[in-house]
Amino acid sequence: MTSTTHAPDVHDATQSHGHALRLWPFFLALLALTAAEVGLYEWWRGTAVRVEGMETTYAIPKFALVLLVLVFTLPKAYIVLVYFMHLRFEKALVVWLAVVPLMMTFLAVLPTLTDGLTLKERKLHSTPVIGEANYGHGKTGPGDVPDHKEGEVNPDTGKVKAKTPEKSDYE
């Protein structure tokens, strides 16, 4: 600073004292949304049906839970960003400074998400053994199975153990 005296901090001409927020509605909205998403999750978890060796099933599929949680999360993020961070009352430049990185977030994550989903599909089908269910990680049935070499014939079932693929960097 070129000034030798302590000058008062500059505040924007855009900072109007008429923008005093009524806080209770926002506080209660945030509280209600948080309680709703936690309640939804606990309910979903409570509907689980676990069977040994099988995938756990729920009242609604996982992707539905993901969407519903996002339905509760995004308004919370909106309230904090627009009202608490005062973005609603800011100049366009500040709004762009906030929004552009968020847009880049989606651009960075979404295209590579398909890669991740494809990877999961490839892993799920990584040890094809004809006639036996695949439970992931090379397991071929409920509980542990004897570890025999790839390419060998299993004396119990008469089937040949398929080669497991090389481990990827994702594991």
Partner: protein, 220 residues
């Protein structure tokens, strides 16, 4: 530097339409472009933009690893390590801290110094409590539930994201503590509260990141 360079900075950027000789580099953004946005605010938003990219890297990597992983911890399993009720309470604390910060800032803007200082103090205390609970959670996870960062990919992602966020909260608590002390020393007034505003932006950003982290790490 010219002889006119040592003039005190004006209180309102719109009181001078043209840059002063020596102040031009410092007030350049607010005056040359005539946008009437303080440099501090632009600087803080630019910093937050970089923080968004930082957390994007972490959250994006988590989403992709989670989507690409066949197994992940089963939330219905008796040994599921994460404590949702405790973390929900932590989320509530952080939300309260954002509300008290806005309340305190508005009080300062309206000249109610005691209320303003109380708001800043409550924000600092809520934030410190959040950090304390996070530390307790780590202690429980590592000490009693055997969830160390090198246990599996889920643990590694969990600790990477929550620890970086926790570090941001800790730095925010320190900044808020300094601002609170300055408040009690009478530094702020209806014409001088920019520091509270800029620190508040950072604090609300930390809260915003936690809202998203809580949803995708603990609930989804």
């Amino acid at each position: 530097m010219s002889a006119t360079a040592h003039q005190p900075a004006p209180a309102h950027p719109d009181s001078h339409g043209q840059p002063h000789g020596g102040d031009a580099p410092l007030m350049a953004f607010g005056t040359v472009l005539n946008l009437q946005i303080s440099n501090g605010k632009v600087g803080m938003w630019l910093f937050l933009a970089s923080e968004v990219m930082f957390f994007t890297g972490l959250i994006g990597a988590y989403i992709i690893l989670r989507a690409g992983n066949v197994t992940w911890a089963d939330p219905t399993h008796p040994d599921y390590p994460l404590a949702i009720p405790l973390t929900a309470f932590n989320t509530f604390l952080l939300i309260c801290s954002s509300v008290t910060l806005v309340w305190g800032l508005q009080a300062v803007q309206q000249g109610e110094r005691a209320k303003g200082n109380l708001g800043l103090l409550l924000t600092t205390l809520f934030g410190a409590t959040f950090v304390g609970i996070q530390c307790y959670e780590y202690y429980e996870l590592i000490g009693h539930r055997n969830m160390t960062p090198d246990k599996d990919i889920m643990a590694a992602c969990f600790y990477a994201m929550t620890s970086f966020h926790g570090l941001h909260v800790l730095l925010g608590v320190i900044a808020m503590a300094v601002v609170t002390v300055k408040g009690y020393m009478g530094h702020f007034s209806p014409k001088n509260y920019a520091i509270i505003e800029y620190t508040g932006l950072y604090w609300h950003f930390v809260d915003l990141v936690w809202i998203i982290l809580f949803a995708i790490v603990y609930l989804i």
